[in-house]
């Protein structure tokens, strides 16, 4: 396994508890109640939080570190259960005999559609992929991002992991209710050679290193790992993404 390093330039986390990734990592979710997340209306996407969550998460990412337009920016979205709200809406329509479903549900049931909308918004024409995983999404997302960055196919990769609440079959498989959550990270090659000036730059950045054992989080100039002491079974697939997001948030606060 070829070692590689990526630099995490920015993070965003939107979750059902309305607190930051840093607070989640620090305090966990015990004693917290989920609440309605205020999200922007994304034209053409209805009745499900999935697409607005992804859209808003990337918008917040852009506020802290400019997303560059063009063919050298890539996006990867990952999820365990996908857009369960839309899946349930369309399945229930059929089961209940409503064969003429809302065509907007057709388009948004395809994860590429919101990715395409975001590409339009930020004029991204680089590689875009959607992946599915059963376990933690950090490894496949970073592996794919690393392949793109170190293969010199792009200079920035946005990775997002997402899960949605209120679907009985996914809750059943998960073993407990899932809560809405999306985590997005902006990644670049460590020691990139390009001239990139974000709106705000982090003097210290989180570096993630890949070896044969997997990805490990390393804060630059500090060394070692800062372990997250909570698990988040209500956010399937997002545990280590949250941990990484928390560390980036911590560094950003200190800068």
């Amino acid at each position: 396994m070829m070692p590689m390093s990526l630099s995490v330039k920015a993070q965003s986390c939107i979750n059902a508890y309305g607190i930051s990734a840093l607070e989640l990592a620090d305090k966990g979710t015990a004693g917290l109640s989920p609440k309605e997340i205020e999200l922007p209306v994304v034209p053409g996407f209805i009745k499900s939080n999935f697409s607005p969550l992804i859209f808003e998460s990337i918008a917040r990412l852009n506020q802290s570190c400019r997303i560059r337009s063009g063919p050298r920016t890539a996006m990867i979205m990952g999820s365990v259960y996908g857009d369960t709200s839309t899946i349930d809406l369309t399945s229930r329509d059929l089961v209940e005999g409503r064969n003429k479903m809302n065509p907007l549900l057709f388009y948004q049931s395809v994860p590429n559609c919101i990715m395409g909308f975001i590409c339009m918004e930020y004029e991204i024409t680089g590689p875009v992929s959607c992946i599915s995983g059963l376990d933690d999404l950090l490894v496949p997302l970073l592996d794919l991002a690393g392949t793109m960055l170190h293969g010199d196919r792009c200079d920035q990769v946005i990775v997002s992991g997402i899960c949605l609440s209120q679907s009985p079959w996914s809750d059943e498989m998960n073993g407990r209710p899932i809560r809405d959550c999306v985590v997005s990270l902006l990644l670049e090659r460590e020691h990139g050679t390009h001239n990139f000036h974000p709106m705000k730059s982090l003097e210290k950045t989180i570096v993630v290193n890949r070896n044969s054992q997997g990805w490990s989080i390393q804060s630059r100039n500090e060394g070692g790992e800062e372990a997250c002491h909570h698990h988040f079974p209500e956010f399937p697939g997002l545990g280590r993404l949250l941990e990484l997001s928390a560390q980036v948030h911590q560094i950003a606060k200190a800068t």
Binding site: M2, N112, T125, P127
Partner: protein, 389 residues
Amino acid sequence: MLRVVITGYSLFTAFGFGREVAAEHLFGGTHGFKPIERFDPAPFRCSFGAEADFSGSLLELGMICAKEALSHASLSLPADAGIVIGCAGDFEVVHRFWSGVQRLDPSGAHLETARLSESLPGYHTRAIADMCGIPGTRTLTFNNACISSSNAIGHAYDLIQSGREHSVLCGGYSLINKELFAKFDAGMAFSRDGVIRPFSLNRSGLLLGDGGCMMVLEELGHALHRKATILAELTGWGLSSDAYHVSKPHPEGNGIAAAVTTALKRSEISPQQISYINAHATGSKFTDCAETNGIKQVFGDKAYDIPISSTKSMTGHLLQATGAVETAICLMALQEDLVPPTIGHEAFDPECDLDYVLHETRTKKLEYVLNVNSSFGGNNTALILRKWR
């Protein structure tokens, strides 16, 4: 630079399992469209599709395709390979879950929930990996719709070229089901006359088809060392976004042009060296001319000299399986020096004026062939194969 070759593959289409039966129909210019039998299509505007005679589940199809590909590549189990699959998961299972809830039947609900995992694309890859004796750490699942399996093949190429894997089982599969049918019907995407007419002036939309293809990609040295039969070389690929519209392609084919240009660059060949293009061409009003324009952007006047065909005119649109199946068709074309036709074309469209190999298979010496695929959101892939000598 490490080179990537194809050493085995499986193929499933409306014509059944097997490379030979597919070749017979594809090079024979016959389509697989007929009235849908798997469910009652009466509520929908369309009642046709390219269904195969297969009553198993989606996961069962994936497992059959995977086993056959490994067998064709003369690889035994447990396989020492990565797995990358393009798959949407089985919506039928979710549909039956809700049917169980509706019936409030305890034993029915239990039956539906037991197979719920099959709704997850990632579960399919894990189950197939388990069958092949491959650890989960060497798996990845793409679920970006119509480019899922071509994205899977492209990523497999990257894994091998970067030295992270020496062999990868990759591809995708899809079956027509009522939920998918209802969605496409809601989007008014279906053809109105029971066939697909790519590039034809009177084209009216697509039809769905059953499909599946898994293939074994290997690093060349690894394949030579174990004396594998090399079928073709995968020389490069590209992945791009149109940044134009949620569901319509860029009218000038900008995203397709970008993906193809990347594939050519990575293959280190010029556009003039492409001898056949398998187009995505779904028979939809906008996609066929957008793709034509994208091809013209890359190839210029040379575009008029390259045979281009839409095999969806025979197989139907295979969704997640499309990229892999059409890559396999490119491979068969390379091996036989035969270009499959575009059938169903009836009337000339001035916006689609390239050589679409209408109606009949053509004999032609092929060296490098290109497979193009696109999906909603303006996501595009291009894969280039080279004849193995």
